[in-house]
């Protein structure tokens, strides 16, 4: 009540000053007062009431019709007041949602965390950056008892929170697969069934799964509609596309995946990426795949992690630090 009383006398004085002198200073005072009303969440009809009260105190002989007209205005302002209240609570809710999403993004990071395998055989580097708060890109490492290493890179289509939730599902199904079924094509076939049953019609996942078999010096891989990776031959110093064909996960329940195999030699390198990398833009122009490879080759002498960091920085700069899509780049080099 205390504040309301000071409000009234404040308002009355300001109004009187304005009516008598009509100077800039009183207008400035009005602006300050208005800001204070907003801050204290005073509804518009209260302000009109304040105005009536102040006016009657200053000019007790306000004409009857004017008094009625002001009461009419109060009625008009009531609905405005309700809308203002709604807006206010929406803003509150919005900031609450924002902080909840920030918590969720944090949780996503924890849930999806995967550890780079400790191995003498491969030097692995990976960088993954979301375009928004929550990423739809994902990578995961699996280690077999026979020292084989499985690497999955995936992109959920559909962005934001639904995509992120979907990722957790993928991760947990992958972790719960028995080791005997770790071959790339079996993994994709299993995941496809999980995704098909559990996500909605417009959503799907692309995944490239590659398995390194140290005993045979080979890699085995299969793709579920994922952006092709690249194989760098250290001897000829050339890149070639790792071609693998297969349907994206979640579209057809009985999709089958073809498995490919190739020998990997010392110094050779495998590059896996998501379309955030290949769909980088410079101005209005799309970056051609060759340019991506050129940048990768430029840094290919560095340890894998440093290398992917440099490549990421390169494209980040090129796109003015604003990616249109999530960006994930994973590289491994065979060391022995």
């Amino acid at each position: 009540m205390e504040t309301l009383n000071t409000d009234i006398s404040n308002y009355r004085n300001l109004l009187k000053h304005y009516i008598e002198i009509r100077d800039e200073q009183s207008l400035y005072g009005a602006e300050q007062l208005s800001k204070m009303f907003i801050k204290n969440n005073v509804p518009p009809e209260e302000i009109v009431n304040l105005h009536i009260q102040a006016l009657e105190e200053l000019y007790p002989d306000v004409p009857e019709y004017f008094r009625h007209s002001m009461n009419f205005l109060v009625e008009i302002m009531i609905t405005y007041g309700i809308a203002y209240q709604e807006n206010y609570s929406l803003r509150e809710e919005q900031s609450q949602l924002k902080s909840e999403i920030a918590v969720a993004a944090n949780m996503q990071e924890t849930l999806l965390a995967t550890t780079k395998p400790e191995t003498e055989d491969l030097d692995i580097g990976v960088v993954s950056a979301p375009a928004n708060q929550m990423s739809g890109d994902y990578y995961h490492f699996l280690e077999g008892k026979d020292n084989s290493i499985g690497i999955a890179i995936a992109d959920v289509i559909g962005k934001g929170i639904p995509a992120a939730l979907c990722m957790s599902m993928i991760k947990y199904s992958m972790d719960s697969l028995p080791e005997a079924t770790m071959s790339p094509k079996t993994i994709l076939k299993n995941l496809n069934r999980v995704v098909e049953r559990n996500v909605d019609a417009g959503m799907f996942i692309t995944m490239f799964y590659i398995q390194y078999l140290p005993a045979k010096n080979k890699i085995r891989y299969a793709s579920a509609g994922h952006e092709p990776g690249f194989y760098y031959n250290a001897e000829t110093k050339t890149f070639e596309e790792i071609k693998a064909k297969g349907l994206v996960l979640g579209v057809s329940p009985d999709a089958d995946y073809r498995e490919y195999e190739r020998t990997i030699n010392k110094g050779d390198m495998v590059v896996l990426l998501t379309d955030g990398v290949t769909e980088c833009k410079q101005g209005d122009r799309f970056i051609e795949t060759e340019e991506v490879l050129e940048v990768i080759e430029q840094y290919s002498d560095l340890p894998a992690q440093e290398m992917v960091n440099k490549v990421y920085k390169h494209f980040e700069r090129m796109q003015n630090f604003q990616f249109r899509d999530d960006f994930t780049l994973l590289v491994f080099k065979k060391e022995v």
Binding site: I157, G202, F204, T206, G225, H226, L247, A255, D325
Partner: protein, 110 residues
């Protein structure tokens, strides 16, 4: 960037001509226009992508939804005149093997 959607409806056949970009912003509009056409029993829906120079994966999602809907409603979906960049997306994702895509009419003569 915008997407313009022109629909011509004939008897048992709808032709959809698209102009512009299909991305996360325009995909919902496309979905809203395209899905009802696939829900008409036995309807043949032809989507012309000649003037679509950019499509991202959200666009693929729309066509997958449309394909699923044709299976439920005995209708058909056919994509024609795709630009190379867009066609590549269907090839990579393996969707070219489950969605009917006509690439032969490009240019008109062959």
């Amino acid at each position: 960037m915008d997407l313009k959607i022109d629909i011509t409806e004939g008897i048992g056949k709808s032709t959809v001509k698209l102009f512009g970009e299909i991305d996360a912003y325009t995909a919902p509009q496309l979905k809203e226009k395209l899905l009802p056409l696939t829900k008409i029993e036995r309807n043949q829906v032809e989507v012309n992508l000649e003037n679509v120079h950019y499509m991202d994966s959200t666009g693929l999602g729309v066509f997958i939804s449309a394909l699923k809907s044709t299976k439920e409603n005995n209708s058909e979906l056919r994509l024609v005149d795709l630009q190379d960049r867009v066609l590549r997306l269907f090839r990579i994702t393996g969707l070219d093997e489950i969605i009917t895509i006509d690439t032969a009419i490009r240019g008109g003569n062959n």
